[in-house]
């Protein structure tokens, strides 16, 4: 590796290191098959590193890098043509609509820890049942901590679409949690509504 290449690599790694954890979690959750995480990250990083000369210092490297990972996960999910993974237990294949003010949601809101402490796997797998766009938008917001405008740029979609799909994704995820909680008796009262 020549000296300029080494300097480029050092700058790239210096930018990358602080966001590695976020990238890995995001990539793992965005893929239909999380065992492809390292492979997808490798492809995304190779592409980003190749294009790193086009990156302007001082601009948003995090959003720039997430765009490569988002594209790569999208390509991988499409190439595999796999349906989103479906949970065997609990069965969550039919997302219910959720009235945000409904009483049964109140039971979850009153004691969310009682449900979520048992639901790490459910949360992780339930997002696999969202649409590709919903899942990525939710993850970019929740894991990447991006603003709506940044998500719109990363996904190359209008900001209004981001807002609508994020709200829908949140509602569906809560619905799945409620279903799981009801099926497993995690809500102590009023959970049959």
């Amino acid at each position: 590796m020549t000296r300029p290449d080494r300097q480029k690599a050092e700058r790239f790694v210096a930018h990358l290191e602080p966001i590695q954890r976020q990238l890995a979690v995001y990539c793992s959750r965005a893929l239909n098959r999380s065992d492809e995480t390292a492979d997808v990250l490798q492809s995304a990083i190779a592409n980003a590193f190749h294009d790193f000369d086009k990156y302007s210092e001082g601009t948003n490297f995090r959003a720039w890098m997430f765009r490569y990972v988002t594209l790569e996960t999208l390509n991988r999910n499409r190439a595999a043509s796999r349906l989103p993974s479906v949970l065997d237990e609990p069965h969550l294949s039919q997302p219910a609509t959720l009235d945000i003010g409904a009483f049964r949601l109140e039971t979850l809101l009153d004691d969310p820890e009682a449900v979520l402490d048992h639901c790490d796997g459910v949360v992780a797998q339930s997002i696999g049942e969202l649409t590709e766009q919903e899942r990525k938008i939710l993850l970019l917001r929740a894991v990447g901590d991006f603003k709506y405008r940044e998500i719109a740029e990363i996904m190359n979609i209008p900001m209004g679409t981001v807002m609508g799909l994020l709200s829908r994704a949140r509602t569906q995820l809560r619905s799945k949690l409620l279903d799981y909680a009801r099926q497993h008796g995690l809500l102590s009262k009023g959970d049959s509504a």
Binding site: R6, Q20, V25, S28, F49, L109, C119, K147, Y148, R174
Partner: protein, 266 residues
């Protein structure tokens, strides 16, 4: 703005999106409507917990644990790979501490892949102990002045409580701790009724936390996130001041800016 309109905008409020006028109207409504204030709190709490789960490696598939050395090597960035980029901690460590003594003993552990400890991760862990109640401040008071007075003389560097009027921070107590053998003071309280912790260390501590020092050199007012805990930090009066909480970053920045006059560059 009525209750229905306010609740329709919860997403924007929670995500700190939308314009200032909308937030002003929402805050006005929440100040006068206890029902909506409670509803917003509960929605935000649930969403924060979900985000915490989504953002944690512990809940990921095992395959999400990436060997970054291998990834970077395969991607053609090999020569500058310094070490394994991170280590996985989290739930096992969080489950251990129940007292300040345990905490102090514990905070040598979370380190970066290059062997240096992470101030943000340590701070986030202490903050979570405050949130869960496993760490109670040595001194409890809702008075800014009393907290200032308590801390005076306890540490060799100046620590103070940001004025509530400017910061929105309602103090509840303070204490002393250590991060990787570096003396630190903390002030705990709430912003919008959600826990917020302020950590103060002398600037010399950055020798032990090279990553944070590099970040502060790049950006005098730096920000990061550990799980659901947002953090902003800066240099104020020759001290490192870090504000952590499960609230919007803009609110933490307001607390930080109220703490000192303005952020200093390194």
């Amino acid at each position: 703005m009525n209750c229905q309109q306010a609740r329709r905008h919860w997403d924007l409020y929670y995500d700190s999106e939308g314009d200032a006028e909308l937030h002003f109207q929402l805050n006005e409504h929440l100040a006068s409507c206890a029902g909506c204030a409670e509803w917003f709190d509960k929605q935000s709490r649930l969403e924060s917990l979900i985000e915490q789960r989504l953002g944690s490696e512990a809940a990921s598939e095992p395959s999400a644990e990436v060997d970054w050395s291998g990834v970077l090597a395969a991607a053609g960035v090999t020569p500058v790979v310094r070490s394994r980029s991170w280590m996985f901690f989290g739930s096992t460590i969080l489950a251990l501490a129940a007292s300040l003594l345990v905490l102090v003993g514990l905070y040598g552990l979370p380190v970066l892949g290059d062997g240096s400890p992470s101030l943000s991760r340590l701070s986030a862990e202490v903050h979570q102990h405050v949130v869960t109640g496993s760490l109670r401040p040595e001194f409890e008071s809702a008075s800014d002045m009393e907290v200032d007075k308590y801390l005076l003389g306890k540490v060799s560097f100046p620590v103070r409580c940001p004025p509530r009027k400017d910061s929105g921070f309602a103090v509840s107590g303070a204490g002393l701790c250590e991060f990787s053998d570096q003396p630190a003071a903390y002030v705990v309280g709430t912003v919008d009724r959600r826990p917020v912790s302020i950590f103060v260390l002398p600037i010399e501590s950055l020798d032990v936390f090279p990553r944070q020092r590099a970040e502060l050199r790049r950006e005098p007012l730096s920000a990061c996130r550990e799980g659901s805990t947002q953090m902003v930090f800066s240099i104020v009066d020759r001290n490192v001041v870090l504000v952590a909480g499960d609230v919007e970053r803009s609110k933490l920045t307001r607390v930080l800016k109220s703490y000192g006059t303005y952020p200093h560059a390194l």
